[in-house]
Every structure is written in C-alpha cells, then in structure tokens.
Symmetry: C2
Subunit: 261 residues, 2 copies
C-alpha cells in the first residue's frame, strides 16, 4: 500500500515526536484537575482558590509543584494570582487575546504575512455580513444605527474613528451569531492590531477622505442589512474590506507577521 499522499504537514524534519509515552508531571496533573473544575463550571470566574498551603494538602504535592501548576494555568489565562492578605489564585474568564497570542505565535513562526491575515478576514467577514442581513433583529438595526451615528460625529478625530471602525467590525461579527467565527475574526483583528501598532500610528494626509469612504461603506452595509438583502450585504462588505486591505498593504507592504516581541 502506497504512502498516503500529502501526509507531511510541512517539510520539517521528523524529530522524535509524540508517539512515546509521556510521564505526566505533577504540575500538569494538578493544572488539569483545576482546569477541569473550571470548564465544568464548578469554579466560576471570580472565585478564589484555596490558599497554597491548603491545596498542598488537598493534592498532596509540594509547594513547588503546585506553583508550577499555577504558572501553567496563568499562562492559559485561566487564573490570576495576587499576593498579600486575601490574595491567592482567582478564576478569571479568559479573553480572546489569549487565544490570539497562541495563534499569533504560530503564525509568526510559520512566516505568515500581514497580507494573508487581512485576506483571511476578507474571506470570512462578508459571509457574516450576509448571515446577519438574513437574520437581523430590530435590536441589531438599532445598535448598528447608533454606531453609525457615533462614527459620523467623530469623522475628524482620526484616533476615535479608528476605534469606531474596529468596533463596527466587532459588532458585525458578534451579532452574526457564530461564536467560533467571531472568535476567529477577533483573533485576526487582535493580531493585525498588535502588528500595526508597532509601526507608525500617524495620520495620513488624506485621512478625512479615507474616513469618509469607510463611513460610506459602513452605511451601505447597514442599509443592506436593514433591507435584509444578504447578497448585497455580502458584496458591499467584500468591496469595503478589499479597499481597506489595499490601503493597508500599500501603506505597510507585504512583510511577514512580526508583531509579538
């Protein structure tokens, strides 16, 4: 039987991979048990974990092992630990930025480009615009209109308007109702933002013009959503995002994703 085609993910050399049995370390086991209690809802955000000495007894491990477990959960953004009286470990609800960090790391190591990140959003978001247009509620409309108003009143303030633009995308993605996709776009946005803010945040000479174009695009989208015209909403939004992408690429080139560190 021939080897199945395309079996290698990439051309990386085959370092002794995972097949071997792994002896779980104490810290991992502890982290796993605590994590389980969190995702199962036994521990809710804001809850305090027992003190280190208590947990040492509960898990029958040394303080060192317990603290190693804490570092792991902290890295996963599942807990945060403060010191001082009434300090200790508290459950925290992890935010998108966390996942975005892992993904960004992976993308950077794979040499993904900024262009690709923008293109990914360009692929995803128009579909969400369509979905929202086809399933919108009156509340969606209200929120979108209110947001447009906000953008209109800050057309000149390029910093506020930049925020508003990002917020528009967020509203769209969030209200389209698909949690995984919303997370994906959120991560891509986070990566994009972390990348560009490392570079100049200056305003362009034609900033007002650009802002006006953005506002137009947003307005057209809302119109199509109001009209429940999914097809048109998708088209409008794709055109809009293509323009945005072109501007950004023109500005920053097609360098590799480099933001973290």
């Amino acid at each position: 039987m021939a080897k199945q085609p395309g079996a290698t993910t990439n051309s990386a050399p085959n370092f002794s991979d995972d097949p071997m049995i792994r002896v779980p370390k104490a810290a991992e086991l502890i982290a796993e048990r605590i994590r389980r209690r969190i995702v199962l809802g036994e521990l809710k955000a804001g809850d305090a974990l027992p003190s280190e000495s208590d947990m040492m007894g509960e898990f029958s491990v040394s303080r060192a092992s317990l603290r190693e477990a804490f570092r792991v959960l902290e890295a996963e953004s599942l807990i945060e630990v403060k010191r001082g009286a009434h300090g200790g470990a508290r459950i925290k609800l992890p935010k998108d930025e966390m996942a975005a960090k892992s993904v960004g790391l992976l993308l950077q190591m794979r040499g993904a480009t900024l262009k690709e990140v923008l293109h990914a959003r360009l692929i995803i978001e128009p579909s969400l615009a369509r979905a929202l247009a086809e399933a919108r509620t009156d509340e969606d409309i209200a929120v979108l209109r209110q947001h447009l108003e906000w953008e209109r009143t800050h057309l000149n303030d390029y910093k506020v308007f930049a925020l508003a633009t990002a917020e528009m995308h967020r509203i769209l993605v969030q209200r389209s109702g698909n949690v995984p996709l919303a997370l994906m776009v959120g991560m891509l946005d986070d990566i994009f933002r972390r990348h560009v803010t490392q570079f100049v945040a200056r305003s362009r000479a034609d900033q007002l013009e650009l802002n006006q174009a953005s506002l137009d695009g947003h307005t057209q989208l809302v119109d199509m959503i109001v009209a429940r015209n999914g097809e048109a909403a998708e088209a409008v939004w794709r055109r809009h995002m293509q323009r945005v992408k072109d501007v950004v690429i023109e500005e920053l080139g097609e360098t590799t994703v480099l933001d973290l560190y």
Copy 2:
C-alpha cells in the same frame, strides 16, 4: 459623550481587570526571554537548551523560578523536557493542536455548539476552494488526483475512508496558500474531531452510500479545480460541506461543544 454602543463583549461582570500595573514574576520574564530567542530563530527546533544549573547561572534565578518558566513554555508547546542523561529542555516546533486547545477551551466556555463549528468551516472552506481553483498548479492537481485514487481504493474501509476525508480537507486548505486560514480550519477540524471521537465511532448502516457521496463531492471539486473554475469549485464545495454538516448534525444533535475533558 454617550458610551459607545455594543462596548461589552459579553455580559460578564467587570472583575478587576488588567488596568493595574503587573509585577512580572521571575518565571514569566525567563519564559519571555527564551520564547523570544525561539521566535527570532536564534534557537531552532531540535536545539537543546543548557542544563538547569547552567541556566540558573545565566539568568541568576533560583531553580524553582526556572522550572516554573519551563512549565509555561511546555504548556505553550515550545519546549519539551526529558530527564536523565542527555535530557533537558529541547526546542520543539509547536503544532496546530496547541492553538486548537486554547481556542477549544475558549469556545467551550463560551458555550459554542458543534453546529456552529461546522458552520464556521462551511463559511471558510468554499472560499478556499475557489482560491485554489483560480491559482492551482500542476502539482496541486497531481496531489489531489493521487488522493482521490487513495479514497477510491478504500471506499469500503470506513475507518481509513474517514481519515482520507479529513485529509482531503487538509490538502485543500493547505494548498489554498493562506496560512492563517489554513490554521483556522485546522483548529476547527481538530476541535470537531476531538469532540466527536468522545462519542461513538461506529459505522452507520448506510456508510458505504455516504462514502460514495463524499467521494463524488471530492471528485467534482477536483474537476472544477482542474478546470480553473473558481465559481463552480466554491459552489460544489459549499454544497458538499452542507451535506456533511447535515449528516453530522442529524447524528449528534446540536449540543454544545464539550470535547476537552
């Protein structure tokens, strides 16, 4: 000035967030420095880090702090630590599964449903089919054809065919050339697979029929890619994935994503 609309990501209570200054812990600083050296390429996959005692000297920290840093990097899947002679920490190139784990955790906590995960792929993949069709090389064709052949010869072996099906999606996504999107789909696939394998992996009565339908879909896609017909490739693939989604949903219902743990 009115509060900007839709500012809250979700209705979570506002626990004392990040605004406070954070005293970085020794372990975090160490992890950061090592991570930096990895992403900057100073340390390549397979390289061995110095022994713990050496690094204690290099960073001027205690063994405990150093080991906490190791646990963090281990959790990020950037290193792996073996003990014994010639053991120690070695750089490892992180795999998709890592990011998938964080994302899956987040999705589970947000109550995302299996249906949504499938729908996300349904949104993304057809666009990739189109992109590949429009930019395919002869090598792409060769790989795809070879894969189809493989599927054809294993139509009856439902376990192998299931693998082949997943592989088909992977080839498509990988060859479409967008690293971030490939990663996204890869993660969704990983989450999907981890979820379903917790349930029955039994074969259905009409398995052969289903397999044949899948193979037909795949064949049609490859035909359209060969013809460089992006429009049709996208349509074919959307229809195919919609069918797959329907079958899975019918089988498993619309329960929440629950896979980890």
